[in-house]
Amino acid sequence: MDVNESGGAPLLQTPTLSAKGLCMAVQESVGRAAAKPMGKPKLGKLARREEREFYLFISLWIIGFIAFDAGPILASFAISFTNWSMMTPPNWTGLQNYQRLIADPLFYTAMWNSLYFGIGSVGLGLIVSFLLALLLNQKVLGISVFRTIFYLPSVVSGIAVAILWIMILHQDFGLINTVLSWFGIKGPGWLVQPQWAKPALILMSLWGAGGSMVIYLAGLQSVPQHLYEAASIDGAGPWMKFWHVTVPMMSPVIFYNLIVGFIASLQGFVLVLIMTNGGPANATLMFGLYIYRVAFQFFQMGYASALAWILLVVIMAITALQFLGAKYWVFYEGEAAR
């Protein structure tokens, strides 16, 4: 019988399964584990000791954060309302820096470049690293060797990656254009033509897919086997199992990689500085690089601070949107089915 949409039979008792039914069954299975706390339980002696130890260990980070990060963060907020070259005392200018960025075309250029790169690199990275993880989750001989090989690029330092990709993307003798030439295609000047520079950087960002891949791999291995068994019993094929078991169960991991990846890509700086320095024609002028230029080449610390705070607001807004959207596609173990 099909799973009853209104609430249904236990998953293991369903001989056949519709897509929607399986999805609900998974949610129900996940939701079963939900145990809503009924107020704060009284802690035992051991628990209290663990709590003390928790605060002891985390205190180092908290002290470090307050001493080295919180002060500069708050100071930058105050500085964003000043005109300060670092060489003379700051002058209070109110909202002038924020008004200035509204009229600054490079602000929009840098923001657009960062969003373009963020969407492109995170989107492509999510798909590629997830597919790689699926591939490397197979039970074949020597799989650990393959996993190591695919992860290796992630441990190569940024500068070396930049050097390597400058060569790979070289217009005349780069690897990509050489391969394209075998098919009679004349490859573009990836890093020297404005319209190709951002796609080139997005392509290059796949180099670090191994890092996300490992997280996906860990997630895949924690998907309960009984869900696949149940799906098999219900007659689900590989695609159905992937779409209705794997993807929902992996959605928190995908969401995590999406959030972290997007924040990191919006803050991208080092590789762009080394590979293109924002060129050609500002095509790769990312927001982080623009802040660096304003701060440490033009020494306009007030404006640079304002830009940095706007970046924070943008990141928070995008992250909030992502969390809002997550309600519709992310399923947490222990969370009741929606």
């Binding site: 060489m87 940024g158 070289h170 000047g189 890093l191 080394i274 050609p280 024609a281 033009f298």
Partner: protein, 488 residues
């Protein structure tokens, strides 16, 4: 500023015992861009000059380090000036900030040791910072009112620093010294360090740009070497003739063309045609969209259209200066390019004067200086150091005998011309300095914003996506609001 990754790479390469030249060669083989190599070398402790980017003219980049042992510490240890300012009666310490590569810093230590022998009550504490990090470091120190007593300053930062009150005027000290003789300095060398009728720094060098040429390429083509009869039409004609081949073996007639992202562009490329970029010296009006400026840039553009200069993709694969790799017949370089060329070139080369244009015979010159800072706790002791360091004897000791660069004092030039480390055509460097060098370069505090605004627009010309005329109009529109502050 070198990033963590760059420092990591630099450390790794140094750990493997590689010289800077080897690092450059590796970078070139790997296709590392000039900017990237510059950053890595900066992280190694030596900052190479990027052509036309306004980096330190006198720090020999991309070069085989000259072993300090080559220099006899006693050679040139004579002729020190007397000081009108008395030595301190108690021991004082002065801090001096430099931006030398590690090897030349050894020569600096030799000077300091001799100085301290002459002035036992003055302890010199030298701070050496890679050029790529120097500016950020000392601006941060300025924010904390913790500047050293004396600091190095490049021409392109000087006006900004002076305007913000980082330095002390030196006129009173100079007036007291009967041997100082300000007239001994080349006029161009002083320009960047004067403001409001005062002198805020003493230059140590001023290097003119000259035409470096590959004699082997000329010989193979049967073309006579450049000489005093050349004009820019001849330069173009020969550059086109010498451009030969395809792919990795292509020979380019000329190494570079003007870009409006370069603060040094006007004297060699625009002024010979009667044009200018900004109205000097105040830089309060943009002149780049005037018909003569557009015509001059279009004249140069023909060389790009005909493939006589390397494209950005070609330059991605070579370290600065690309001339040293033997694929470029001629290049315009400041005198500070000599050490890397001497170290890297496996061909015969020489120097000639930059050719004359239809309206004028001009090349650029640029240099650096040392200043006494506003935070100096011992300005008198700092002056005694500066007076000797930048005297004729001091400039000969540091920059003349070592062949490092064109000294700012005319009286120190003989030591440079007679140095075994000077370039073969050193006499043309001096001749250019005396006759055609112009300091009409972009050096006002607005300079970095001007070049950063114009550079991306010019990228589109280089990519063939914008005409010279359109680019000049766009540069004018972008630059004019920036330099409006100079009109006040």
């Amino acid at each position: 500023m070198a990033t963590h990754h760059e420092e990591e790479l630099a450390h790794e390469l140094k750990q493997r015992g590689l010289s800077r030249r080897e690092i450059l060669q590796i970078g070139a083989r790997l296709g590392l861009s000039g900017a990237a190599i510059a950053t890595v070398l900066a992280a190694c402790g030596q900052a190479p000059q990027q052509p036309g980017t306004g980096a330190a003219p006198t720090i020999p980049p991309a070069t085989e380090p000259t072993p300090a042992s080559l220099y006899d510490p006693e050679e040139g240890n004579s002729g020190w000036p007397t000081n009108a300012v008395s030595d301190p009666t108690e021991r004082v310490e002065i801090s001096v900030a430099h931006a030398w590569d590690a090897v030349f810093f050894e020569r600096q230590k030799q000077f300091d040791a001799l100085f301290m022998q002459r002035h036992p009550n003055i302890v010199v504490k030298a701070e050496n910072t890679p050029f790529g990090e120097y500016r950020q470091k000392y601006v941060a120190q300025a924010a904390g009112n913790a500047l050293p007593d004396i600091m190095y300053c490049q021409f392109s930062w000087a006006q900004e620093f002076i305007k913000n009150g980082l330095f002390r005027p030196l006129d009173d000290y100079i007036a007291r010294e009967k041997d100082f003789n300000l007239q001994d300095f080349t006029p161009q060398s002083l320009v960047s360090y004067q403001r409001d009728g005062k002198l805020w720094g003493i230059p140590y060098d001023e290097g003119p740009a000259n035409l470096y040429y590959n004699k082997d390429i000329f010989d193979a083509a049967g073309i006579p070497y450049p000489d005093e009869t050349w004009d820019l039409e001849k330069l173009k004609e020969v550059a086109l003739k010498l451009t030969q081949g395809e792919g990795p073996n292509k020979i380019f007639g000329l190494g570079e063309l003007p870009t409006l992202g370069d603060s040094l562009v006007a004297p060699p490329y625009l002024m010979p045609f009667g044009a200018q970029y900004l109205r000097e010296p105040k830089e309060d009006e943009c002149l780049i969209n005037k018909p003569e400026a557009v015509a001059a840039l279009e004249w140069w553009q023909e060389l790009r259209d005909k493939g006589a200069v390397p494209s950005p993709a070609d330059l991605q694969n070579v370290a600065w200066p690309a001339f040293q790799f033997g694929k470029i017949a001629m290049t315009l370089q400041g005198s500070w390019a000599t050490p890397p060329i001497r170290a890297g070139a496996k061909f015969n080369w020489d120097i000639a004067m930059w050719p004359r244009g239809p309206k004028a015979h001009v090349t650029f010159s640029a240099g650096s200086a040392y200043m006494i800072t506003r935070d100096s706790k011992n300005p008198d002791a700092a002056w005694i150091y500066l007076n000797e360091y930048l005297s004729t004897a001091g400039q000969s000791y540091m920059w003349g005998i070592t062949g490092r660069g064109s000294p700012a004092r005319l009286s120190a030039w003989p030591s440079y011309l007679n140095s075994k480390f000077a370039p073969p055509g050193a006499k043309y460097v001096e001749q250019a300095m005396r006759t055609i060098a112009s300091h009409d370069i972009i050096d006002q505090p607005t300079g970095p914003q001007v070049t950063q605004a114009a550079g991306p627009i010019w990228d589109l010309v280089v990519a063939g996506q914008l005409s010279v005329k359109e680019a000049c109009d766009q540069v004018f529109a972008a630059v004019d609001p920036i330099i409006a502050v100079n009109r006040a």
